[in-house]
Symmetry: C2
Subunit: 194 residues, 2 copies
């Protein structure tokens, strides 16, 4: 890589970093592309050399977070570690990106059909990893033979539920930390035999 290529990559990374910071702080809809460019110390037009449009910015940011979550889960599945550990590790990953997900959850109804579809598709990928993990556990007789879809829906329903409550009830501290024990308990009751 020569100087030019290094600079290009550096600029791209800087844009992603600044964009994410602004999205978390002010939301996706209330952040303009000009602001992101300004914060990144580049011209407005430069942003569109690196990203097709504003939507592809948030999609790439989301892809990076989900990539990390996905690879960790797949790692755990291949090592056949038990479900509780899988769940705890997933919650740890989620906690790191909690603020971004809260923004997405709040603004989702106002996004374009296209962007909403993309975000929900990426959400479903994570769910499918959980499906696989649970199916594997059932095959190996580690958990009860439950309706896998219901189990996954329960877990994600619970997470969405707590995220939605945050602005009203939880002024400080982490949402994830608050619900960890109860989710783990209910999830275990639902899935793990003995």
């Amino acid at each position: 890589m020569n100087k030019r290529q290094i600079q290009k990559k550096k600029t791209r990374e800087l844009i992603l970093q600044m964009a994410k910071a602004e999205f978390v702080k002010k939301g996706f809809l209330n952040t303009t592309t000009s602001e992101i460019a300004e914060k990144s110390g580049i011209a407005h037009g430069t942003l569109f050399l690196h990203f097709k449009n504003k939507d592809s910015l948030i999609v790439e940011i989301l892809d990076r977070e989900l990539e990390e979550i996905s690879s960790t889960i797949q790692n755990l599945i291949s090592r056949a570690i038990d479900l509780e550990q899988l769940l705890l590790q997933y919650l740890d990953l989620l906690q790191k990106e909690e603020e971004l997900f809260v923004v997405l959850a709040r603004e989702l109804p106002f996004y374009s059909e296209e962007l909403r579809r993309k975000i929900l598709f990426r959400d479903s990928i994570i769910r499918s990893h959980f499906h696989k993990a649970i199916e594997l556990g059932i095959k190996e007789k580690r958990y009860r033979d439950v309706d896998v879809t219901s189990a996954v829906m329960f877990l994600f329903g619970t997470i969405n539920y707590y995220l939605s409550l945050k602005p009203i009830f939880l002024k400080e501290g982490s949402v994830i930390k608050k619900f960890k024990p109860s989710i783990v308990k209910t999830f275990k009751q639902l899935l793990i035999s003995d």
Copy 2:
């Protein structure tokens, strides 16, 4: 009133009616003033003869709903009917406007500072009526001597809580109907003596 004045009033009422229908259906932010004019069968500019701007439209719609709620509560206070009946009647009134309030609750963070202030100010008026009702009850020894502010905050906190859950958990049926019994029970425990 001559023909002109009658027509003017009729047009104004029609705009308010159509605007509210659109706001409930598509949200305040996703409804354009052109659409409201079209649905009302008037020219775009005519809308601004009747209302200073788009914000004043939603403010007037809200004022009318709150006017009805306020007068009913004040009526009940003056007749010194017991608190449970007051609460039930309030919930009935609220239920009629539930859809509008759900829209406002969801979109509120995206409104202008100015509009948000106006809406929250109107909300506080309703709360003050409850304050009065509860203080009267305490003065007349009908309820226990509780912290009035806490009691009102509890009631409105509970309502906001259920409203926020609706999009996630309650696919059908009324939110208000769902939480009526538990709110009434807890509220009575908190306030009513014996």
